[in-house]
Amino acid sequence: MTDVYLDEKYTGKLSNYKDFIKTLKEERRKQKISGTINVAYDAEFDEVTVHTCSGRARRPLILVENGKPLLTDDHIQKVENNELNWQDLIEQGIIEYLDANEEENALVALNEKYLTKEMTHMEIDPIAILGLTTSLVPYANFGQSSRLNRGSKTQKQSLGMYATNYLLRMDTDISILQYPQKPLVETFMHDVVNFDKHPSGQNITIALMSYDGYNMEDALIINKGSIERGLARSFFFRPYRAEELRYQGGLVDEIGIPDKEVKGYRSDEDYKYLEDDGIVYPEVKVNEEQIIIGKTSPPRFLGEMEEFSIAANTRRESSVSARAGEEGVVDNIFITENAEGNKLVQVRLRHQRIPEPGDKFASRYGQKGVIGRIVPQADLPFSVNGIVPDLVFSPHSIPSRMTISHLIEVIGGKVGALGGRFIDGTTFSAESEEDLRKELLELGFRENGTEKFYNGITGEEMEAQIFVGNMYYQKLKYMVANKMHARASGRIQLLTRQPIEGRSKGGGLRLGEMEKDCLVAHGASLLLKERFDSDKTTLHICESCGMVAIFDNIRKKGTCPKCGANAEVNAIDISYAFKLLLDELKSLGLYPKISLKNKY
């Protein structure tokens, strides 16, 4: 007897599970019961599981009977003539959806080539074994699987036209590519997802060669002329918001240019771009830390107000200013209400990002790198025809990573650019490399994609033939402008008096334990001390009890809280963090006694 579970609930027993499953499937295919029902038999536990619930990932497959797919050429003809549609095929029981569980009982052929008598289903197209982003990688079956993984991952980080209504949106940390293009070498999936409506890269000319070592270790060399012509430029958007919040006692925030009496008033210079309503006007260039929305808040504590209530208005300045290190042009301003009905002002800054050394780029095959150098067009190598590459890619990135698809795309892109057509690079059913090479030959180029090149600086002919072609390159969202950070002095933590952490707060760069070990290993004792001087404090220690004492600088007299006045007190320079440790020890009930001795 076989147990039956309906939506993971035990419902009964069966004497002949095979018949049961068969009827259930037949009824489903005949549309007598819902098409969303899936049934599976688990041989290990001898149980039948039926699922009708929502939330199961299901995928369509073509049914196969006696080694022959039920979908015939006749059907395909009818679909092409718009006599049949997808729903009809499902209703006729030609295509059915399986869930993960039922898939365990199915034997699925990749395509007609693999069909045998035992097969129960066939893939609609072999590309269906890949996910959406992965099937956007052309010639994926010519590369290593891990590179395919990385390639589809970088596509998600690429800049492009993520939404056509981006001008009306207030998304955080978003960029738009200025001249996005549809890839020359595309896949079937690009059409399916309307990739031409939201492209995310540009077709550029690349040369596979090293150039003065500036493309070592995955760095890229970019043509300055190309950048000046608009290659890989993007807009970076940063929204800022201010709300008129309501507090206890009927107090409210006020958006507007703050009065001069307001606590924390900045200089007039800071407010100069604000209009009468306290908001910057559009298309004004805002520098870092300049005020975008002027705002004042009521005093934080009521007591505060009573104390200084001579001038009744002791409001606080709480304006919104551009982030440290981020400038831009005011792109758009929205004045609305939030859910509570308070006034809400949102301002979006736009900043043009021109490629600079350190910006990250990637092809679609996990070949990512950062700009190592931007070279003037005149200094770059050129071909017989006078073609100067947009990007110089290091050949050392190829052998160990085995990204053959990267190389095929270069040839494909070249054929596409010269032949004026798009190349189909759909995984498993792409245009063959041989055909591309033949076409390239017909177009008057060497079939292996190489060309004679000349050194751009000396004009000498290069000994090697250089592999050039066109390919789709993506600018990724990681740009140096968002990453670079340095600090000389700045804010410190209240507790430890050590520098605060984090780029956005202008924090320090930590010299960690292992870095400390390096200085120790070099015996650079005084350098090490100086590096850790950030929380240096002077402490006065009582000679008799060894506790922290007080030194009166005017009377030149020491007072110890324990031993009383006129204690003998000596000063030591120590890190504040250690003073904190001593305090913590005291709070543990331990008595850390410091006894001083002359160093020499």
Partner: protein
């Protein structure tokens, strides 16, 4: 002539062994007095150059010398040592268990060398191996079961296997009877029936007895599971998985001067702390060499010295080396700070701030490198 030179340079602090080699070599090459002098001068230069300066941070450099290649070590745990199908833990896991001074290595192993006539001829091998390799009762059983009704254990011996191993039936029965004493063993057809001494315990007792009987050692040395011969040059030696240094060394045919275990604690117990120091060095070096890395022997020596300098083996852990540190703050800065601080305050310890960590904590110059020497000057007009 050279004797005078040797004496002269010995006073300068050059080790006598080096000087002896230099003088012997000079004599052998028939160098002139002038040339010999030059040799000694060069020797002094080289020796002085190789010396470590005062204030050199050898501890940190050793740590970095192990730490950096450690990051490159493959985390591959198993290594099949050629013919001998013995799994040996190597790589980072082995290095960690070695320096942590774990009581038992994850793969105990022995290298057993044999004395002269036995190491040359294969005919002695079988006899020696049967002396060493432990044979448990489970190895010669063909069947063992509990009779649930009678609360007895029935087993059948594998006679063929016993003949191969040269084990007599009476011996086996006698051993079972003695462990624990009073256990009754009676023959029944081709089987034996074991009746537990105390019958009250019921089935759990019978079950425990069954497991106990299975583990009984019939022959060989306890702890040694497998012995495999290996040819090294013209010599035959044995590799044993499992370790029991004491009993192996008691075997007459074994060459006790070269036989070693990879269990450093066993080496320490049987051969002493100096042998343990050497064992640590050898083990660490094997791991490093096997990974194709190169760490200077002096770093390994320093680690081994550090671990054995207290007379017992101490690991580089909070319960080992670190607990021996003089400074309270240094101990507190490495794991379980509160424990160290409280214990220190109970006993009233004093921290003299003599080493690195404490001074980093207090932001004082560390007493190493440029921070070690002090400058003393006589002030003008002031006496003393």
């Amino acid at each position: 002539m050279t004797d005078a030179l040797v004496k002269e340079y010995q006073v300068k602090g050059i080790p006598i062994t080096l000087l002896k080699v230099a003088s012997e070599e000079s004599a052998r090459k028939k160098l002139t007095a002038k040339q010999t002098k030059k040799v000694f001068q060069k020797l002094e230069d080289k020796y002085m150059f190789a010396k470590i300066h005062p204030g050199e941070a050898i501890g940190v450099i050793t740590a970095e010398s192990f730490g950096e290649p450690g990051t490159q070590m493959t985390l591959r745990t198993f290594h099949f040592a050629g013919v001998a199908e013995v799994n040996v833990t190597l790589g980072l896991p082995r290095l960690i268990e070695l320096f942590d001074a774990r009581k038992l290595p994850s793969t105990p192993l022995m290298e057993i060398y044999l004395k002269k006539p036995y190491s040359k001829d294969e005919k002695y091998l079988e006899k020696i191996i049967s002396k060493i390799a432990a044979v448990g009762l489970s190895n010669i059983l063909s069947e063992i079961a509990i009779n649930l009704l009678k609360s007895t254990i029935e087993f059948k011996l594998n006679k063929k296997r016993m003949r191969e191993l040269g084990i007599k039936e009476e011996v086996v029965i006698k051993t079972i009877k003695e462990s624990p004493k009073g256990t009754e063993v009676t023959p029944k057809n081709d089987r034996y029936v074991v009746t537990p001494k105390n019958q009250d315990g019921g089935l759990p007792v019978v079950y425990l007895l069954k497991e106990k009987i299975k583990a009984i050692k019939i022959k060989g040395i306890k702890g040694i599971e497998q012995v495999l011969p290996k040819k090294v040059g013209t010599e035959i030696m044995l590799i044993a998985s499992g370790s029991n240094l004491k009993e192996v060394l008691e075997i007459d045919e074994v060459d006790g001067t070269r036989t070693i275990s990879n269990n450093i604690f066993e080496v320490e117990k049987i051969l002493g702390i100096e042998a343990a120091r050497h064992a640590i060095m050898e083990e660490a070096e094997t791991v490093i060499k096997e990974q194709g890395l190169d760490i200077d022997i002096r770093h390994i020596m320093f680690m081994a010295d550090l671990m054995t300098t207290h007379g017992t083996i101490k690991g580089i852990t909070r319960s080992g080396i670190t607990s021996e540190k003089e400074s309270v703050l240094a101990r507190a800065s490495f794991e379980t700070p509160i424990k160290h601080l409280i214990n220190a305050s109970i006993t009233g310890e004093t921290d003299y701030l003599n080493s690195v960590v404490e001074n980093v904590m207090l932001n004082q110059p560390i007493p190493l490198g440029t921070g070690l020497p002090g400058l003393v000057t006589k002030l003008k007009g002031k006496k003393k």
